[in-house]
């Protein structure tokens, strides 16, 4: 239930502006891969191209290939809707649907495409997904209350439960802890560690300790200057990137001597 991602020579454009240049990267199945780098270096933009969410932004387009176990996401006839149901996403700010109960939030993705699901199956799925997101014990008595009544960290775990309820191959996380306090952050990090037993996880983070704690491999992105495209500078085992990087820029960044 998890697939690898291979990116070949990917360029991302906003209109005529080249935002990310020539990225090739191989992301292993059932592992956690972290993207780090300074603000504006294109790591979030690149993450979004992995499930075609960048297409929400008018004028955004890509050149190159993203292969999910060999299938090109950008091949002819590929529906972005199908892509996104296989590659889930968790966003920077927790975004449970405010008009839905906790239970309906978890089931939101499953009920799409007019899929029918019996109440019994739904109950099982809700419990399994919320347990998978380490949230079950906190919300099991108030599944019919609105999701927006939860704390920020709980909301983010609800969003993760919602993402894993559709049983995706890959979960993308775009700075999932940047709006959370340290305790909630710890809860999410523990969860990421558990998720990699079943899923391929890709996480963008500004927090280098977080990358060091949760990821197996780390990719460092950088930008030469304002208006220049972001590039993948170095990619390797997290341990290597943080202790013995090849590139000077990587070493400067991870040791805090950047800029």
């Amino acid at each position: 239930m998890s697939k690898r991602i291979d990116v070949k020579d990917l360029n991302v454009y906003y209109g005529d502006f080249l935002a990310v240049e020539d990225v090739s990267i191989n992301i292993e199945a059932k592992s956690v891969t972290a993207f780090i780098g300074p603000s504006g270096c294109g790591k979030s933009t690149f993450l979004r191209t992995l499930n075609r969410m960048h297409e929400v932004i008018p004028g955004a387009r890509v050149e190159g290939e993203v292969l999910l176990d060999g299938d090109n996401l950008y091949g002819p006839g590929v529906d972005p809707v199908t892509v996104r149901s296989q590659i889930g996403m968790v966003f920077q700010r927790p975004n449970p649907f405010p008009t839905m109960s906790i239970r309906d939030n978890v089931l939101a993705g499953v009920k799409l495409n007019n899929k029918k699901i019996s109440k019994g199956e739904a109950d099982v799925l809700v419990e399994r997904s919320l347990k998978g997101a380490n949230l079950w014990n906190e919300v099991k008595d108030r599944l019919d209350k609105p999701g927006s009544g939860l704390s920020g960290g709980q909301q983010q775990r609800l969003c993760i439960a919602r993402a894993i309820a559709v049983e995706p191959q890959v979960i993308l996380m775009d700075e999932p802890c940047s709006a959370l306090d340290p305790i909630s952050t710890l809860a999410i990090e523990d969860l990421i560690n558990e998720l990699k037993d079943q899923y391929t996880v890709v996480i963008v983070t500004h927090n280098m300790q977080q990358a060091a704690r949760v990821s197996d491999k780390t990719a460092f992105f950088n930008i030469a200057g304002t208006g220049k495209p972001g590039k993948l500078i170095e990619y390797g085992d997290t341990h290597t990137i943080f202790s013995n990087p090849v590139q000077k820029a990587t070493e400067d960044y991870v040791s805090g001597r950047f800029g």
């Binding site: 149901s85 889930g88 996403m89 966003f91 700010r93 405010p98 008009t99 799409l112 993402a163």
Partner: protein, 310 residues
């Protein structure tokens, strides 16, 4: 020294504050005073009609017998208008906010707003002179094929000047109100939730059902209620389009009347108890509109817990 600097006042700034707060207070009070004045006028002037013996009122059977057919007529016309206008307005608003390319969207939005700028007498003239004539064959067909439904019972009006035609004209008139308000609400739907839906593998329509419409629901209700307010009170268009008469169930025969048109058509030649009767009719319309607005507010607040507010 320090004490005086804390207590001393900067004259100019303070005065500005006082003038501004006084002006806003006065404006707020003025609205209440006007509303109260109108209500008081309506009640005082209506009392003679409400207390008059039954045979003095038009029709000879008392005020209630006089008013209820035109209350029902008013509601029928307004309901027809909303049933037609609401889905179209929401569709147009969604198209402008979420489907149309940017250039087309702003142009289309402008055209819809332009519809609101057309005076109601023009709509009335168009409805009476053009729409009624063009639509009467359709009424004939409805009477022939759907005549078993009481609302389409024949014989259809040959002139087409029916309550259904009036309702259609009203629908065109309330369309821009509902459209432009809904469009504004749809544009405010949080990107955050739209992206959440898309990332789960929602199609665009599913995203709208999940993230946009639930968020916009209170706004749509308000927009529809504003449209309803206009449809209930619209006078000129109905007076011109409708060939009025007694209350009938069939929408495609001439007949029925609305309160506003009844007042407009009869007021100029009315005197004595007749004036009082018409003002009482106005009071009834006022109460209906007030009730509609209160129900709308109640509907909106009932689901507050699940709205985007918290």
């Amino acid at each position: 020294m320090t004490a005086t600097s804390l207590t001393s006042t900067q004259g100019a700034g303070r005065t500005g504050d006082k003038v501004f707060s006084g002006a806003t207070l006065a404006a707020g009070c003025l609205i209440l005073a006007v509303l109260f004045g109108v209500a008081l006028f309506l009640v005082v002037q209506a009392i003679p009609a409400l207390t008059a013996p039954a045979d003095k009122i038009q029709g000879g059977q008392g005020f209630f017998a006089y008013i209820w057919p035109i209350v029902v007529g008013t509601l029928i016309a307004a309901v027809i208008a909303l049933v037609i206008a609401t889905p179209i307005a929401i569709g147009v608003a969604l198209f402008i906010s979420h489907f149309a390319p940017r250039g087309l969207a702003s142009g289309l939005g402008y055209v819809v707003d332009l519809l609101a700028a057309i005076p109601s007498v023009v709509y009335g003239a168009w409805g009476a002179a053009f729409l009624a004539r063009e639509i009467s064959p359709a009424y004939g067909w409805l009477a022939g094929n759907m005549g078993w439904l009481p609302i389409f019972e024949g014989p259809a009006s040959a002139t087409g000047k029916t309550i259904l035609t009036a309702g259609i004209v009203l629908a065109v008139m309330v369309l821009p109100i509902i459209t432009s308000l809904s469009r504004e609400i749809f544009l405010q739907a949080p990107k955050l939730h739209e992206e959440a839906a898309l990332a789960l593998g929602a199609t665009r329509w599913e995203m709208i059902k999940m993230a946009v419409l639930p968020f916009a629901r209170p706004g749509i209700i308000s927009a529809v209620m504003l449209g309803l307010g206009r449809a209930l009170g619209e006078t000129m268009a109905v007076a011109l389009v409708l060939s009025s008469g007694a209350l009938t169930a069939s929408l495609i025969q001439s007949g029925n009347q609305t309160i506003a048109a009844e007042i407009a058509l009869n007021f100029p030649e009315a005197s004595g108890i007749k004036v009082s009767t018409l003002i009482a009719a106005g009071l009834v319309l006022f109460v209906i509109t007030l009730a509609v607005n209160m129900i709308a507010r109640w509907v909106i607040t009932r689901h507050k817990e699940f709205s985007g507010a918290n």
